[in-house]
Symmetry: D3
Subunit: 129 residues, 6 copies
């Protein structure tokens, strides 16, 4: 039995590990319009699910970029999670390969658009470095 | 420069490693209706993409079950790839965790239906054992 | 300026041409639960859109089976329109080729499931013949 | 600050109100394969979100059946929520009308399949009555 | 038996009630490229379906924003219908709550992108006021 | 038995016929980030599938724009293939009609967004002429 404050704090930490603390998190960016949705992201998505030890952070990111690339309708989140995949230890080559594989399961347009998202993330990191 | 025969053979081997050679493969099951689609699965999907060394088979299966669970419209292929995920070294616990995570990115119905697919695959393997 | 009765009659005729009048149409099969949805199918979908001369029936079926195969979530309608594609003059070979092409744009699972739908339609027609 | 036990209990109550306590809930039906996914449904989906007072249960069901009918890939959940819509006070006529409207926003196949799901739910309730 | 002119006029009225007559309607904005698609929006979507009395305008907008937020691939139409939801009597809080609920049924990315669309609509109305 | 070089060359030719050689092809535009994905587009998508004689280029484009318009999540590829449809011999009127028909199978938002893509393609060609 755990209170919501612990879940929130654990979620924020998991989110910061993933995002590298660069730029605003989805939690803070929703504060003006849907603060409870932002809170659920911290408490539930990251605090309850993503921070669990049943699957390595690197493995979780493979699942997530596979899901978002296949859906093909959430470019900002795909970019966020490609960046998170790098922070979780996946190489650029592994990420491009994973997104190339999406051509097999969701078609070439989904793969091309996902790889285009990866290019933007890689370029932004190069510009910062 | 490689000929199509090499690609086909490499693909069939990759497909057999993944499926554990149990039951008919998608290549043979399409022979009556769309043999070229079956051949493309062997040559391209498995021969060109899935057999590449840029990503481990286990990692590829995380991407694939993430994609198929999120799309939620290809139950036979999701079951095939959950079975393949086990053959590639993922544990039942890791697979269930990966599919649970789909609730975050594609909603609870997609996650519930994916976990239901996993139950069927696990039961079929238990029945064989 | 045309009244709804003319649209309905034109729609029913277009629907019968497409389906070959075999079995219950979507219009009659909805009569018990959503008669107005059935009427809209006749008046709008077939009466207003599908019966227009701007595109040949055969060409319309290529668009429709492309759309339904890519969406991958409407198997009964895909079967209905594969049957309609045959009635509109497409050959079995052309239909299988069109559905195979879906692998490029929506992935192999969508193509495999669409080709499986085609096999069912072809078998049903062979059984009737 | 609330503990997880309170969230779970509130969620189970909201779930029972929606389902009318007939048949197994998604929480118990996942107990063998993905108990934590079942727990998240109780704690988060129903305990945190669905039980909030910001939107009436009846209104929530309109959103949910709109979402599931449009996605068109989660028939068991659509049936569950059509039943829940009746329990939340929507009439059969309102539900059929809402699902008919899906033809405008997600196409006729999605609407037809959703209305077919409604027919099954209505028939099951008639059989019980 | 009703003629198409009556349907068109009733549709345009329903469309204006929903949109508040601010800015170009989808009917006029399609006049240069696909006038018949624009006409079908007036006659069928609004004239035949949306203007029916079987469901309140407010309730229809809950279904529509649920559908469009879940699909996640039609941002301009989602913004149009969030604005329409306000005109039909839903409060900003109810709309944000409905879109937050989409996280449960279609995942957090869909909910975040829908809430982002709502922020744009609310800001545009504030700027006009 | 054919080597990959022949497939690549045949694919590039098919791609150039479709695109009219205007602007960068998807193959070259992926060279910096995912060259193998670009190569697969040439070898597999165009060399193995699109260049086959089982279906006319014009017919293939009807399938493709039907698929991409229905999915509604790949605007750059839809524009590319609307342009390709013109190069393959479809008229503007036929393309607009095909995309209007998408309203029936995937809803009005998908049709409106597809027709908007067509307007951009037609305007770009007019500007060049």
């Amino acid at each position: 039995m755990e209170d919501s404050g612990e879940r929130y704090e654990r979620g924020i930490k998991a989110l910061q590990r993933l995002s590298g603390e660069e730029g605003p998190s989805p939690v803070t960016s929703l504060a003006d319009i849907a603060p409870d949705l932002g809170r659920f992201i911290a408490e539930f998505a990251y605090g309850d699910v993503i921070s669990r030890s049943e699957l390595e952070p690197r493995d979780r990111q493979l699942v997530t970029i596979g899901a978002l690339a296949a859906l093909g309708n959430a470019a900002p989140q795909l970019r966020f999670h490609i960046n998170g995949a790098l922070n979780a230890g996946l190489t650029r080559g592994e990420i491009v390969e994973a997104l190339t594989q999406i051509a097999v399961y969701a078609g070439f347009p989904a793969a091309i658009n996902a790889v285009t998202a990866a290019r933007e993330v890689f370029a932004a990191r190069d510009a910062e470095a």
